[in-house]
């Protein structure tokens, strides 16, 4: 009986030939990540372990991205705890405001994660790096603390679901629509405790940014991780971002999958997740008239350069509806600069959108775009839970950047095809 891609990475990091689903292993870590919400708790726990130094100063990344630039005094205190810990421990990869970006866009861009790695992060969207062929999963602060102290994590070896991708995206359809389609199909716990493994000849149609978006939302189906088979695009990305040496894992022919789904990209339409679960999906032709108040384009899901370009292409020469606040948040400083140099900011600003410095901000109802009672927002983010972006009676609709941009123009959930 063979192993899945995920199981092979886990076996290699547990120093064994073979692992099987259900087994609990102690695995060696290549990277431990934390942010300004989860790190302060982890630092407190780290101190309780009695460890006096971190396991590896190069293999920890601390990114103050959630409530930053500091939204209030308490948030400032939290980041201070993190900054001082980074200094005290000599942690190399602490990213101060000015270099900081949304963590899951930042780490791949900085070349800190690569194919074959095993990564944990005290943030549920740590599963993003599966796009690079890594095993990467979200954990809590105690796991982060123990990871920083020992370089190890306990993991239950997951079963897997395979997604065989074929075909090619139609116009206005991208990675976001594929992952929303999958979550709509299998549900928010459809992959609970399991790996989602992506393979098939259709992968070549997916850009790296598409893959980051898809792996990022594996957690929204409850998955432990989402992982892509490495191909030429992955290799190019890794080399371009400073990683010449990495390990590629391929699932065995006889690996066991709990389920196998075939998805033809040609059949997908722009997809929107209605409140209050990412599984409440409708295709754009089914949404009806949903009047909105705000649009957010950004986040670890869709704040990358392709997302900025797609949103700008829709907004070019158009105006944001007078009833809408449209907030654009490039996810990292590099994406910000690139967007600026490509003239995308002129398009956004001429359209009447606000452009923000990188932050997770509104996605989790932190700051920079909180919703009032009864307000509705179309967001390129990843969650639409009750109260996620603000008031408990506000609503979040998840969509791709082109649909979000088109909706900003019309003031209601719209396909770019509806624009004049």
């Amino acid at each position: 009986m063979g192993m899945t891609m995920t199981q092979k990475i886990l076996a290699a990091h547990a120093g064994v030939e073979k692992v099987s689903a259900g087994e609990i292993i102690q695995a060696n870590l290549d990277m431990v990540l934390g942010n300004d919400i989860t790190s302060p708790v982890a630092i407190k726990e780290f101190e309780k372990t009695g460890a006096t130094k971190v396991y590896d100063q190069n293999k920890i990344a601390l990114v103050p991205d959630h409530f930053t630039p500091n939204k209030d005094i308490k948030s400032a205190e939290q980041v201070k705890v993190m900054r001082e810990f980074a200094k005290k421990m000599g942690i190399v990869n602490y990213f101060e405001i000015g270099q900081m970006g949304v963590e899951h866009a930042l780490l791949p861009e900085k070349g800190l994660v690569k194919a074959g790695d095993l990564i944990i992060g005290a943030d549920s969207h740590t599963c993003t790096y599966g796009a690079l062929g890594a095993f990467s999963t979200g954990v809590g602060s105690t796991d982060m603390a123990v990871g920083m102290a020992t370089g190890k994590v306990w993991l239950k070896v997951p079963e897997a679901i395979k997604f065989v991708i074929t075909g090619k995206f139609q116009k206005w359809v991208s990675g976001k629509d594929l992952i929303l389609h999958i979550i709509g199909m299998i549900g928010v716990d459809g992959a609970n405790y399991k790996s989602m493994e992506f393979t098939g000849e259709g992968l070549k149609e997916l850009s790296m940014d598409d893959r980051f978006t898809i792996a990022n939302m594996a957690i929204e189906a409850g998955a432990k991780n989402g992982v892509f088979e490495v191909d030429e695009k992955t290799r190019e990305y890794l080399v371009e971002h400073g990683n010449k040496v990495f390990t590629e894992y391929k699932a065995d022919e006889d690996a066991i999958y709990e389920a196998i789904y075939s998805i033809d990209l040609n059949e997908l339409k722009p997809t929107v997740a209605f409140p209050h679960l990412p599984e409440n999906t409708k295709t754009i032709d089914e949404v009806g008239e949903v009047i909105i108040d705000q649009v957010v384009i950004g986040s670890c899901t869709n704040g990358r350069i392709e997302d900025m370009r797609k949103a700008a292409a829709v907004l070019k020469g158009r105006k944001v509806n007078k009833n809408i606040r449209c907030i654009v948040i490039p996810a990292t400083q590099k994406i910000w600069q690139q967007s600026m140099n490509e003239g995308l900011f002129d398009i956004f600003i001429d359209a009447g959108a606000a452009v923000s410095t990188p932050t997770c901000g509104p996605c989790l109802g932190g700051h920079m775009g909180i919703l009032a009672e009864g307000e509705r927002c179309v967001a390129t983010t990843n969650r639409n839970f009750v109260g996620r972006m603000g008031h408990v009676k506000s609503e979040v609709y998840l969509a791709n950047p082109e649909v979000a941009a088109a909706s900003a123009v019309t003031g209601k959930i719209s396909s770019p095809d509806e624009l004049k």
């Binding site: 609990i24 708790v41 809590g140 306990w154 716990d189 932190g366």
Partner: protein, 163 residues
């Protein structure tokens, strides 16, 4: 180890955003977090835990954000054990890691009503719904997880390595 008390029951897909909304995540003080536990789902929760000590919920409890503030706030609020049909995986490991007792037992959840009294015996592996006079068997944890629970969390277990 035993836990006994009245239950407070919730539905499926209770996410960590409603367990502890992000607007309170600018602190990691357990006492402060507990004041706002479950606030966006049930404003009466903080009052209820004065008489209820067991939380019961449906499928996929604790889905979403990995914030450990969620199990911390529940533990600090006075809840001794969560019985759910199933747990989202990050919440599951966070609860184990911080020493908050959790049990997945779909049948016990299905047949329980808000306000029933549960008596849980972790040693003999049973849940008794005293109100309904029904007993359910608890599925045992894998060996490693049992050890973490016995040590009252991952930190105490790891501490030995550094002492």
């Amino acid at each position: 180890m035993k836990a006994e008390g009245k239950i407070v029951k919730y539905g499926d897909n209770i996410d960590t955003d409603v367990i502890i909304p992000a607007r309170y995540l600018n602190t990691s003080d357990p006492k402060e977090l507990a004041l706002h536990c479950m606030e966006d789902l049930d404003t009466g929760f903080v009052e209820k835990v004065k008489t209820c000590s067991i939380m019961v919920a449906g499928d996929n409890f604790g889905c979403g954000s990995s914030r450990e503030h969620a199990p911390i706030s529940i533990k600090e609020s006075g809840i001794k054990c969560i019985v759910a049909k199933s747990f989202a995986r990050i919440f599951y490991r966070n609860a184990i890691n911080i020493g908050l007792a959790i049990i997945d037992c779909p049948q016990a959840v299905e047949e329980a009503c808000d306000g029933d009294t549960f008596s849980i015996d972790f040693d003999n592996g049973s849940i008794v719904n005293q109100t309904k006079n029904k007993t359910y068997k608890i599925h045992p944890f894998p060996e490693f997880i049992q050890k973490v629970i016995q040590e009252n969390g991952l930190i105490s277990m790891v501490k030995k390595q550094f002492s």
